[in-house]
């Protein structure tokens, strides 16, 4: 169930036009799962490196690792 849900979430993220998604948006990929459970699945995806966090400081969003590479953004800054 967990692996199936993870695959659904990743597929959903890939289909979106926006690169950054809220947690609520990710949950639309797995409407059959309660949000508290979905949170654990999303965190596992982050731990596995299949999703990553993006935060403005006040709100947190999720994105694919291929999007908005911080290390690339930081290149040339030093």
């Amino acid at each position: 169930m967990s692996e199936e849900a993870k695959a659904k979430i990743i597929e959903y993220v890939k289909q979106q036009k926006k690169s950054k998604l809220y947690f609520n948006d990710l949950c639309k990929a797995v409407p059959e799962i309660k949000m508290m459970q979905a949170k654990k699945i999303v965190n596992e995806l982050v731990s596995e490196g299949k999703l990553k966090y993006w935060s403005s400081g006040s709100t947190t969003m999720y994105m694919l690792p291929s999007e908005g590479d911080v290390s690339k953004e930081e290149e040339g800054m030093n």
């Binding site: 949000m35 949170k39 400081g57 006040s58 800054m77």
Partner: protein
């Protein structure tokens, strides 16, 4: 020693009689702190152009954490290369912000070596805010904080934020609950929520030991835990006579030595519910009408003290103005004993979070979700019985809707039939 950037506008901020942060930063720049030197130049540019040059966002924390670091970059790294990255780290403060001087020195040593040296003690959430470091230093700083100082990062983003409490029983005779233990316990219990985002937006716990509410929980926290009592205010009639006779100074001496204390004008007449009377010999309090404003206790602390049957009132939904206007929190549980291990409270919070996660919109605080979907829906979800104490001025508020299922006998409403009789 001349600084790298001229700062004529910032220099103006050093001219007043008050301590200046500009002087502090300059002092560090003179000692050779390159980040502070460029920071001064960037501030001067922002003042001159009347535009900010910081970019927020991106990085969130260290490995395994989804909060605690706020990514910040300068959009003019060509001019100010030493502050191209200027990330903020939030460090979870100990309960009631008690430190040893040794720990504070070590935090400063870490930050001088691996950050800008600039700190904010403390941010409004309560964390120690360490301002300005580079991405490559985040993990080494985290390692030293956790391994050498036993400290941890605080919350940011859509996480539970670092819980915060007043000094409580450690220093205050009015504390009705052990705020320090509550805050420490909640911080440990909800580690996952603190470090891994899951909410529609931020969520704050704040706990004050008494209704004086020294941490302003009622104005700031999504969940305020405020100490109170449910028996009678304790009265020492001899001390009351001492105040009236001028032998004891009111307000604990805060207004200076006075001999003109007027108990009627300064206490009895100022009681918001007029629940007190004094006949020249005995002070009486009609405790059922007391709303725990604590004015009388504040004025005559040696004569009056909170009751002994203490606990907490749980309020929810406060927030500062971001999407909607500012909102104070509302009473949800009028009285709970709030004793360790706080199981009843934690079970209630789990229900609140379940409902908010399922129903809250993105960037919507709990209070806004309750406002949008109604208090009634919230109460049903968290299994609380409606109570007049949840309603502001219940004797005057006509906006109370009854549910047919909860009124004996109930009633039926047929909208189609109603429209036949009311066609316009």
């Amino acid at each position: 020693m001349a600084l790298k950037h001229a700062t004529p506008m910032l220099d103006e901020l050093e001219k007043g009689p008050w301590p200046s942060f500009v002087s502090d930063v300059k002092r560090m720049a003179v000692k050779g702190n390159k980040m502070c030197e460029d920071w001064l130049g960037l501030m001067e540019l922002s003042f001159k152009e009347k535009e900010g040059h910081w970019k927020h966002g991106g990085i969130v924390g260290v490995f395994g954490y989804g909060g605690g670091v706020i990514g910040r970059y300068c959009d003019r790294p060509d001019l100010f290369p030493n502050i191209a990255h200027f990330h903020t780290m939030r460090v979870n403060q100990p309960s009631s912000k008690y430190y040893t001087s040794d720990v504070l020195r070590k935090i400063c040593d870490i930050w001088d070596a691996k950050g800008s040296g600039l700190t904010n003690m403390h941010g409004s959430t309560g964390d120690i805010v360490l301002l300005g470091t580079t991405t490559d230093q985040l993990e080494p700083i985290f390692y030293e904080l956790t391994h050498d100082l036993g400290m941890d990062l605080g919350g940011s983003g859509s996480n539970l934020r670092s819980p915060e409490g007043c000094l409580g029983m450690s220093r205050c005779e009015w504390a009705c609950i052990n705020t320090q233990d509550i805050i420490y316990d909640l911080t440990q219990e909800f580690q996952d929520a603190l470090h891994r985002p899951m909410f529609p937006y931020k969520f704050k716990f704040k706990s004050s030991g008494c209704p004086m509410d020294c941490v302003a929980a009622i104005a700031r926290a999504d969940c305020s835990i405020i100490g109170t009592w449910r028996d009678d205010i304790r009265i020492d009639q001899d001390a009351v006579k001492g105040y009236v006779g001028g032998e004891i100074v009111p307000h604990g001496g805060a207004g200076g030595a006075r001999k003109d204390f007027d108990i009627k004008a300064e206490v009895i007449d100022l009681c918001p519910t007029k629940c007190m009377e004094y006949d020249g010999k005995t002070l009486k309090i009609h405790n059922k009408d007391c709303v725990r404003c604590m004015h009388c206790i504040r004025v005559m602390p040696r004569a009056l003290r909170p009751g002994l049957d203490t606990g907490a009132t749980i309020l929810m939904g406060a927030k500062a103005p971001i999407l909607e206007g500012a909102q104070l929190s509302s009473v949800m549980i009028p009285f709970i004993k709030m004793e360790a291990p706080y199981t009843e409270f934690k079970e209630f919070i789990e229900k609140v979070w379940d409902w908010w996660m399922e129903n809250g919109k993105n960037r919507e605080r709990l209070g806004e979700t309750i406002q949008r979907l109604s208090l009634r829906e919230f109460l049903k979800a968290v299994e609380l019985e409606p109570n007049p104490r949840m309603v502001n001025t219940p004797r005057y508020n006509p906006y109370i809707f009854y549910d047919p299922a909860t009124v004996p006998g109930g009633w039926e409403h047929d909208a189609t039939e109603y429209r036949k009789r009311h066609q316009a």
